[in-house]
């Protein structure tokens, strides 16, 4: 029987992490994600886990580094300004190939910005954020059921590839309530963490070292080549996207996360009026779902990218479409959520409907 419970986004993500076997959480308060660490501080002791409120996001991510290096399933969460502080640690984790899940409940920026939802952290999430040539797997849920499902996915992907995974939500997703069901995912075969630093006693006296320092250029290049090969595998295997009404869509709206929900409402209205509009919703922002674009290209005449930002994902849409079709953009900033009507107006304009 299906067991659905009504939960707040931040708490649902936390509970999903615990069900995915996460037993360690290190965080620092920041709105609009506070319910996540609060829930963890309550729930983790019940399951024999550990919650530590760190002195800063810098410390929190480095505690994650240590715990991940010791082989634990570990999570941290924050919102934009705090995620900026974590970038150093994230780069080190990518370099040292440490699996962990990081949640960003994005708010408006730049700087202290606001505590309203935003999508201005796309560049930071998918293009680097920290220093060096590295990638995070970035998953962007659009509803709470998906958020819950993606948490398990995130831990599995992290462990499978030994890479940090970022869940990119936003203030809307974190604060809303929806019914969710904690269901079993298809189990993946995951490699043993025989590299973890838990003491020589646990690996037959063989010494394990967690490290991202590679002093000789030739060795560091080899390490980078290895990382790039890993990213290439992820690119093939881990693309995720939703296609809605794309079979006959002349105009394809591209949107992720909360924005995609609003786009869906706009599309329903437009469809009722007989307009052939569809939605391509990237769920994995990195790897960017290029395969999904290949599917809609034969019919699509125009693309419209809608974001709660000045236009960040639209750059990736343009890269994929590569000049073959016009790519339009509509965005709101500063924590303003676009309305279905605004989006519908944009669509009709592009389609030349008066």
């Amino acid at each position: 029987m299906k067991q659905r419970v009504l939960m707040k986004g931040n708490e649902a993500i936390a509970e999903a992490a615990i069900r995915a076997g996460c037993r360690f959480f290190f965080g620092y308060p920041i709105t609009p994600q506070n319910e996540l660490p609060e829930y963890m501080s309550r729930r983790l002791p019940e399951v024999g886990g550990t919650f530590v409120q760190a002195e800063s996001e810098v410390s929190a991510i480095n505690m994650v580094y240590g715990a991940a290096g010791a082989g634990a399933r570990v999570m941290t969460s924050s919102s934009s300004p705090g995620i900026s502080l974590k970038q150093e640690g994230i780069s080190y984790m990518a370099g040292a190939q440490l699996p962990a899940v990081i949640v960003n409940i994005v708010r408006g920026g730049p700087g202290l910005g606001s505590i309203q939802p935003g999508q201005g952290d796309y560049f930071q999430s998918v293009k680097g954020g920290g220093h060096g040539d590295y990638r995070l797997v970035v998953l962007a849920p659009a509803n709470l059921q998906e958020a819950v499902d993606l948490v398990t996915e995130a831990f599995d992907i992290a462990d499978l590839y030994r890479n940090p995974v970022l869940i990119l939500g936003d203030g809307l997703l974190g604060q809303m309530m929806e019914p969710v069901e904690f269901r079993q995912s298809t189990p993946r075969e995951l490699p043993a963490k025989d590299w973890a630093t838990t003491g020589l006693r646990n690996h037959n006296g063989h010494k394990n070292v967690i490290n991202s320092l590679v002093l000789h250029a030739i060795d560091l290049e080899a390490h980078n080549i290895h990382l790039q090969e890993k990213y290439a595998l992820i690119k093939v295997a881990e693309q995720k996207a939703e296609l809605l009404h794309c079979d006959d869509a002349e105009l394809v709206v591209v949107a992720y996360g909360s924005t995609a929900r609003i786009v869906k409402t706009a599309i329903a209205q437009l469809r009722d009026q007989g307009h052939r509009v569809g939605l391509l919703r990237p769920i994995s922002l990195w790897p960017f779902p290029e395969d999904a674009f290949a599917k809609v290209m034969p019919v699509a005449k125009n693309f419209l990218c809608v974001e709660m930002s000045a236009g960040q994902m639209v750059e990736d849409v343009k890269l994929v479409v590569n000049g073959a079709r016009p790519v339009h953009f509509y965005g709101r900033m500063g924590g303003i959520v676009p309305t279905p009507n605004e989006i519908a107006t944009q669509v009709l304009q592009i389609m030349g409907v008066k």
């Binding site: 360690f24 410390s59 994650v64 020589l200 006693r201 320092l213």
Partner: protein, 250 residues
């Protein structure tokens, strides 16, 4: 023939990259001897800093993690929480611990994190070429205090052991030196006590070791050892600053 001096089992038998006259090597050896004597090599996880000891993960024969600059106490916290029956130590310089990692060490100490920190205070940023450290003595010349540290403009050195001893989390805080044999023996005793307190679950432990940097001080190894005694020890007095078994003393 009887062998009377050998490489500790917990120390890799290889030449280190440290400069002649630098005491990092001696301090490494003391830690390794303590790990051997306590028989804990198979459950010890060390955390190396960013600084001259960045390659410490090559020198200790135990599991190691390399931390970002100053973050070793946070990394060690993560490790210890996952491996509570393990022994976790950080090895940090004064730039690493007292400057960029000041928040991390203070809060690890305040939490009473069950780790041991070996804090190597040489009053300078060795690895980056001799810049001023938070522990550089007033008047001392470095590459970023070329006229001598002017306390009016560059402030005062931080006495880490005294500062951390004000907190309730630490079980043992001591400052030692390795400038002569008698002090090396005392330093080892302090490091051993710190590890023992950690194993007994008494609280956070830190041993500050006054150290040398002949290369960046511009002194010979012998002059460097003399400077430790003459200039550093008056500003950074040796002794136990906190020992929950002995009661607090100054």
């Amino acid at each position: 023939m009887v062998k009377v001096f050998d490489c500790p089992k917990s120390l890799t038998d290889m030449p280190t990259h440290y400069c002649p006259g630098c005491t990092h090597g001696i301090i490494h050896r003391l830690i390794a001897e303590v790990i051997d004597e306590l028989g804990i090599a198979d459950k010890t996880v060390g955390v190396a800093p960013v600084g001259c000891a960045v390659l410490a993960y090559n020198y200790f024969v135990c599991d190691m993690q390399e931390a970002a600059h100053g973050r070793a106490p946070a990394v060690a916290t993560g490790i210890k929480r996952v491996v509570p029956d393990g022994v976790v130590f950080t090895y940090q310089g004064d730039g690493d611990l007292a400057s960029i990692g000041c928040a991390e060490i203070v809060h690890a100490a305040a939490r009473g994190e069950l780790i041991t920190t070996v804090f190597v205070n040489n009053g300078i940023y060795g690895m980056t070429g001799g810049q001023m450290a938070p522990t550089t003595l007033p008047g001392d010349k470095t590459s970023t205090s070329p006229y001598g540290r002017d306390t009016k403009k560059q402030g005062f050195p931080i006495r880490v052991s005294e500062m951390l001893a004000t907190l309730d989390g630490p079980a043992y805080i001591a400052r030692v030196s390795v400038h002569n044999v008698a002090n090396i023996v005392k330093a080892k005793r302090a490091i051993k006590k710190a590890f023992e307190y950690q194993i007994a679950g008494k609280g956070f432990t830190l041993v500050e070791v006054l150290s040398t940097c002949p290369t960046n001080w511009g002194l010979t190894p012998k002059e460097s050892l003399e400077k430790v005694q003459r200039d550093m020890m008056p500003y950074f007095p040796l002794g136990d600053y906190k020992d929950i078994e002995a009661g607090e003393k100054k």
